[in-house]
Amino acid sequence: MNGTAVLHSIIDGVLTGSVYALMATGLTLIFGVMNIINVAQGIFVILGAYLSYALSVHLGIDLFVGLLITIPTLFVVGIVVERLFLTRIKGPERVVMSILVTYAVSLVIEGILNLVFSTNYVELHAWYVNRSVKFLGIYLGYIYLLGFAMAVVLLAALYVMLYRTRFGTSVRASLADQTSAALVGINVRRVSTICFGIGIAVTAAGGMIYGATNAFNASSSYDLISRLLVIIVLGGMGSLGGALVAGIMMVTIEDLVGVVWGPVWSSLSFFLILVVVLSLRPQGLFGKRSVRVA
């Protein structure tokens, strides 16, 4: 271990972590507004990666240009899934049922992806994927830098939408309290559908970067969703800022542990940190302690 390696892992962690933060923001937005834990988020990321793959291999469309197609596509897929399945979830065990429904959706998509693309691992390619630039004596992959830039742009766009538009006000009101939001005339149903669409749409971007930096197949979704869930729980479920910070923090720590103690410990550390943090702060790092006194 040397100083450069540590610095490298920290920078890499922040760059990759921002992409995870983007995907986790989608997940936590869905939970906050809809009270739904979308365990299909992992497979949607992979779906996004495969869409980019298909566009680049068969039509020769650049990965980033392809986002102009894949992001709207996944937005529509999200809306269809929400309308078809999630609107039917009712009753007192809403969160549990949402896990089961989205898990079933995830299984179906996994099966379809396996049929279409087979279970062989693939990777996304473009001229910038394997190039790097030297900075402070460290080689940084173009794709990591581009991914970071993309995540920053999309997160900024998301925040502008949430904090500067009328629709954003409705979303934040629904995040705070659905019942009150409905009482002041917000169409919570429509807000939910659109939020689900947005929450899924960001996976197209995340998936493209994931696919360009990892070999993947459909079953990579399990690893992804467990990480994303850890991030949103740590950030405090429903907290957008929390997901952002926790995403960057966790991936950085994971990379760092990998360099310091070896790769065996890095994924373990990811889950152990969650366990330790939650035993000290049950509400997560940024979540508010829920008070439910009538």
């Binding site: 007192p92 008070v291 006194v293 009538a294």
Partner: protein, 255 residues
Amino acid sequence: MTTLLSVDRVSKSFGGLQALSECSLNVEKGSITGLIGPNGSGKTTLFNVITGYEKPDSGAVTFEGAEITRASSSRVFALGVGRTFQITRIFARISVLENMLVATQRDEGWLRGLTRSKSSKSELTSAMEWLDFVGLGRLADQPAGSLSFGQRKLLELAYVLVADPDVILLDEPAGGVNLTLINEIAEKIQSLNRSGKSFLIVEHNMEFVMNLCDRVTVMHQGADLVSGTPSEIRSNPLVLDAYLGGSDEDGEEVS
């Protein structure tokens, strides 16, 4: 009369909102004390603080001479302070009778629950007696979630009573129920009071409060404004001001 429950200069804030500021209140043994005040004056917060569902920032709560300021909700309940909620809280997916049985264990060690059946004969008898008292005896085996709004209020009252508390805090017992039931609830309270139970009641229905209570405390902006007999309260100009300054609809009820 001796003081059973006493709140001494209790304060509580949520972020920037001062819900209670130096609020004091006494409930005498054997009395029915009313607690009124405009919406947002801190009545429910005071209930939560007394019963251990929220912790105060400062001040003291004493019950029968012992301090219970930061005691847990179960501890407060075990000592003999029962309460109902403004939005009724019953256990919706177990039966009416089982709701009663949940409350019959107010100071039992947790390990005993494992080894014993749901209820002893005496607990079952007293649960049924209290259900009959509030008129829900014939619904004992129904899931509690199938009860009407008014029946839920009665069930919540009954399961608090089955634990035999010394003082019962009622949060809007007459809120949202019809006139017949209001009178019925008032009668139950009076008959329980005659048998030695003390009450602290938050209520917006002024007629209900003025007819039932021995003493009334008026809260305003998180503090106790004035305490006295119902007739003293009625003629106190401060009270009218508080209500008119607070919320119009409540003001009309006073006049």
